[in-house]
């Protein structure tokens, strides 16, 4: 078969048909995958919440509300956890923009009496082997069950109580900052 000539009208028709077919196919695939993607995202959140808050019987995701953060466009998400109707704690999705390479997102679990229960790293772009170690227990565990009104959420270099990760002070600072933001949000919350 002879190749189509490169006339204006031929080019126009070819590109039109190709883009039309491609976008229709993509719309179709998008439609099929929309639900699994939402489900995967929800499962990830659920897993993070149940990791940072121990004892609750409601569905924190359905009660999620947003709080404005100091950062434009990125609001904090608060997930209240209840046990028999009473507030048992709260998981707060918090953020710091002071990471070594970009933002750090944490899920901080705070119990009803204001103590930090556990922290989960949701997303970060820190250096593997250095800042990325904030995911590891030796660093994260020093935040467990501490009372932020006594425990100063700053690295020791800045006069706080947190042991920074060796060679990753900036990442450690960002981690502390995000945690502090979550604590402040919890203390300023309105619902009981």
């Amino acid at each position: 078969m002879a190749k189509t000539e490169s006339t204006f009208i031929n080019m126009l028709i070819t590109l039109f048909v190709i883009t039309l077919v491609a976008s229709t196919a993509l719309a179709y695939i998008y439609d099929i995958t929309k639900e699994p993607i939402a489900a995967a995202e929800a499962a990830r959140k659920q897993a993070a919440i149940s990791n940072v808050i121990n004892d609750y019987d409601n569905d924190p995701v359905s009660e999620m509300y947003k709080v404005a953060s100091p950062f434009k466009g990125d609001s904090l998400e608060c997930y209240p956890a209840r046990k028999e109707g009473k507030l048992a704690g709260m998981a707060i999705r918090t953020i710091s923009k002071k990471g070594y390479s970009g933002s750090i997102w944490l899920m901080v679990g705070i119990t009803a009496d204001g103590k930090i229960n556990n922290i989960e790293v949701l997303d970060h772009k820190e250096t593997p082997g250095l800042g990325a170690k904030m995911k590891e227990l030796f660093f994260k565990d020093q935040f467990r069950n501490v009372d932020p009104s006594i425990f100063r959420l700053k690295v020791k270099k800045d006069g706080g109580d947190v042991d920074a990760i060796t060679a990753a002070t900036i990442s450690s600072r960002a981690f502390c900052e995000a945690t502090q933001l979550a604590v402040d949000t919890f203390n300023n919350k309105e619902i009981k």
């Binding site: 078969m1 002879a2 190749k3 189509t4 000539e5 490169s6 006339t7 031929n10 080019m11 070819t14 590109l15 190709i18 883009t19 491609a22 196919a25 993509l26 695939i29 998008y30 995958t33 639900e35 699994p36 993607i37 489900a39 995967a40 995202e41 499962a43 990830r44 997303d123 250096t127 593997p128 082997g129 250095l130």
Partner: protein
């Protein structure tokens, strides 16, 4: 050229990463562990096979002057399919590979095979070429990933061999260049003999 030769050329003789040195960006970016390498290799293989197949089918209808934009639309569509499917069904892998999935669009290997092979050959050879090149890419990424993971993290496929810290440099970008350099040197030696 028979089909077997056409298929096998992607592994050593015309390996896209180790010999043609195409697609360095994803190669260096995601080969930090063997699992990432396989995930990325499979995604690229799928895109390569599908783009080669579709391009060889429509090549006669596309006027020469607009062939590159037409190919890019096709490639970008398949990449988007991979991205959507992966984020829906393999969220863990998707988080690991992140930005490198959309970047398959600009991977020179895909457009390179479309232009150099699929637009000049029939359906079956193009399909085999896409598969061979894709698996060759996976193979190169896997070697790189295994060495980097072994040296940098002392583990293979995520299983820790020794409880100790490896040489961090191999996980970072400079280690990727060093490892790649050594592997290319070995391949060059193999090709001589």
């Amino acid at each position: 050229m028979n089909h077997w030769k056409n298929f096998i050329k992607g592994f050593i003789r015309e390996n896209p990463v180790l010999v043609l040195l195409l697609g360095m960006c994803p190669t260096l970016g995601v080969s930090s562990s063997a699992n990432n390498a396989i995930g990325m290799g499979m995604a690229t293989t799928f895109v390569l096979v599908m783009s080669n197949l579709s391009i060889t089918l429509v090549k006669d209808f596309i006027p020469d002057k607009v062939r590159i934009p037409a190919y890019i639309i096709l490639i970008a569509s398949f990449v988007t399919v991979v991205e959507l499917v992966m984020s829906g069904y393999f969220p863990a892998l998707y988080t690991q590979l992140g930005i490198f999935i959309p970047l398959i669009v600009v991977n020179c290997i895909v457009l390179g095979r479309a232009e150099a092979f699929a637009s000049k050959n029939k359906v079956i050879p193009s399909l085999i070429d896409g598969l061979g090149m894709g698996l060759g890419f996976t193979f190169a990424l896997l070697i790189l990933g295994i060495f980097r993971e072994l040296l940098g993290n002392l583990s293979i496929f995520g299983y820790k061999l020794i409880e100790a810290d490896g040489a961090l440099v191999f996980i970072l970008a400079p280690g990727a260049f060093i490892t790649l350099g050594f592997i290319i040197a070995v391949i060059n030696q193999l090709k001589k003999t």
